[in-house]
């Protein structure tokens, strides 16, 4: 085993790796190639219940230009070195900045961070991979462009390219991010540079305004995949509405999710409520306000009675529906009437606006997310159990009340079996709901690590047996999820991989594609 490197790519000798590293250095300079344990430390920590050594990189490369990346893939092809590309590298709960497999070289594009264009009139942006939401937010504010971002909860420290390429979600009307992507530049494994859609045509000025181009639509195959390295990315921004009215609707019983979803769905599909609504369980919001240890001690999941007490103490519903209206004050007034009428019928809902809940810390951060303002408040989740263990369990559900209740109950039951809490929410969809559960555990406690692993495995097994597929998963479980989608899809993915990357140098293992 090597002393020079903290890990080596699978099947690559130290000697071969020496040559590859020397070549990387000649392209990027010594300062942009990391191999020491100290330099690689920030690429190693994950929140998954597997040893960090399973995902330890052999090196990290910081490229800033397309030409450098073309040369890097050339070197990788020559020596058969696998590279794992990250943009802002904050895929927390999905594998962070660490590669899928031990020994892969991380290609870190954080420093490739130019905002190439923001068009105020057509409301779009074209950016490089390292641009953070915070950077773009400040740029838009500085230039008074009057455009809003849609971002995931890690807002300030994450970025639109990595988030959208992993098909992430946000909370404004543009919350299903990939729907609003428009045009990519991709370095292919053979070093060629593809611009998707209208970008393929020389002198076209419609790259960021028309998604489809001509012929098969290709952008999709570069998301959640390992078919290319995205180096430019276009997406649409929302013009700031004249008025914004965030609100929360609270319900007191878990079974009420049925009523909530049945009321929300038609409002969402018809556009009365335009944004990616969140239906958050009390345990998802609780960490912002309360400490777990004040309500439960010892092993096991938190009992329902404690959750009810906690919700009461901290002015939370058992379900908390966060949504907003965007438009002129008159439009919002009309829609507000429709919303309040719909939710008032059963007498179970408690409807709160900024006036009543404006100072509430949970309401505040939710309102920020729904208008694309920076906040990292949701990281409070990590204090619930402490110890930095987290995996997102993310099955897709129909936006149908009975289905969401069934998924919630099933998840909660499996979590409880392993002593874990249901920190769950349903988000986004018009016709679907991303059911998002933070499987929180203490990574410093070997017992909880083992339980969390087995629990997650069982969640995937049981859900797929019921026909519930997962939309995204951490790097320890990608093969398992790929299996659940059946052999034909897997074979097609493989065929594409062979055609586009015959040496298998790009992110082997991503989405179970090797």
């Amino acid at each position: 085993m090597s002393n020079k490197y903290i890990a080596l790519p699978k099947g690559i000798s130290e000697k071969t790796f020496d040559s590859a590293i020397a070549d990387f250095r000649s392209v990027l300079g010594d300062a942009a190639v990391f191999t020491s344990a100290q330099q690689l430390a920030p690429y190693i920590k994950t929140m998954m219940p597997v040893p960090d050594s399973d995902h330890t990189p052999s090196a990290a490369l910081m490229a800033t230009t397309v030409e450098e990346i073309q040369k890097i893939v050339g070197i990788c092809n020559r020596y058969k070195i696998p590279i794992w590309t990250i943009s802002t590298g904050k895929n927390l709960g999905y594998g962070a900045a660490a590669p899928a497999e031990r020994g892969q070289v991380v290609l870190d594009l954080k420093r490739m961070n130019r905002i190439l264009e923001v068009d105020k009139d057509l409301a779009y942006a074209l950016v490089e991979p390292g641009v953070t939401y915070k950077q773009l937010y400040d740029y838009i504010a500085e230039h008074k462009l009057g455009l809003w971002l849609s971002m995931p909860a890690p807002s300030a420290i994450a970025g639109p390219v990595g988030n959208t390429l992993d098909r992430g979600v946000g909370y404004t009307p543009y919350g299903e991010h990939f729907l609003f992507a428009c045009g990519m530049e991709v370095v292919l494994a053979n070093g060629e540079v593809l611009r998707t859609g209208m970008g393929s045509m020389p002198n076209s000025n419609t790259w960021q305004v028309f998604k489809w181009g001509y012929g098969p639509y290709l952008d999709g195959i570069f998301t959640q995949s390992n078919y290319g390295i995205v180096t430019k990315f276009g997406f649409w921004l929302m013009p700031a509405p004249p008025a914004f009215k965030p609100f929360v609707i609270q319900y007191e019983d878990e079974e009420d999710i049925v009523e909530i979803v049945e009321i929300i769905r038609p409002l969402r599909i018809s556009g009365v409520i335009p944004n990616a609504v969140v239906i958050a369980h009390a345990l998802y919001e609780a960490p912002v306000k309360a400490r777990r240890s004040d309500y439960v001690t010892g092993p096991g999941s938190i009992p329902d009675a404690a959750v009810r007490k906690l919700a009461k103490d901290h002015h939370l519903g058992i379900w908390n529906v966060y949504a907003a209206l965007y438009g002129t004050p008159e439009q919002n007034e009309v829609n507000w009437k429709i919303v309040t009428q719909a939710f008032s019928k059963s007498g179970k809902a408690k409807i709160l606006t900024e006036r009543e809940a404006g100072d509430d810390p949970a309401f505040k951060y939710r309102a920020s997310l729904m208008r694309g303002d920076m906040t990292l408040q949701e990281f409070s989740l990590y204090n619930w159990r402490g110890g930095g263990g987290s995996m997102w369990f993310a099955p897709v559900s129909q936006a149908r009340g009975s289905e969401t209740l069934k998924q919630m109950a099933l998840t909660k039951q499996i979590l409880a079996k392993y002593g874990l809490d249901y920190s769950g929410e349903f988000i986004v969809g018009m016709r679907d709901m991303h059911h998002i559960v933070d499987v929180l555990y203490d990574k410093t406690d070997p017992g909880q690590v083992k339980a969390a692993y087995q629990c997650f495995d069982e969640l995937l097994t049981v859900f797929s047996a019921q026909g519930y597929g997962t939309y995204r998963v951490n790097t320890a479980f990608m093969d398992k999820v790929a299996e659940t989608y059946g052999p034909v899809q897997r074979q097609v993915h493989k065929t594409l991989k062979k055609a586009l990357d015959p040496n298998g140098i790009l992110a082997p293992g991503k989405s179970g594609i090797h």
Binding site: A60, G89, A97, R114, K120, A156, S380, N383, G387, G388
Partner: protein, 109 residues
């Protein structure tokens, strides 16, 4: 302003010489557009703190860092390695020099 080409953040791409200047005088870097040197620099420790750390450390997600005279070496180690619920930050996000100044800034405040 309709469109703007090739804008790096003011924090990106500062010559190391202007880093020294920025330490004595708190000037923003206006040369981002013409500067082609590689690298990533923040204006000063306060900027990194307010644009990154403060979102967690001023909102009760992480413990307060000010007023505790935390040793810079400790701060640097936590930032690079992460610690339990605290995610690590890479040199591509916060370069070594900026991190050193951030750590001093936190210790001083």
């Amino acid at each position: 302003m309709r469109k703007t080409k090739s804008v790096r953040t003011v924090t990106a791409l500062m010559l190391s010489i202007s880093v020294i200047a920025a330490m004595t005088a708190d000037i923003a870097c206006a040369t981002a557009e013409t500067n082609t040197e590689k690298g990533f620099r923040w204006r000063n420790g306060a900027e990194v703190y307010s644009k990154v750390c403060s979102y967690c450390h001023e909102s009760q997600v992480g413990p307060r860092l000010f007023g505790r005279e935390l040793p810079p070496e400790y701060i640097r180690t936590i930032v690079r390695n992460g610690s339990r619920a605290m995610p690590p930050f890479r040199p591509s996000e916060i370069d070594d020099e900026s991190l050193a100044r951030l750590a001093e800034y936190i210790q001083r405040n």
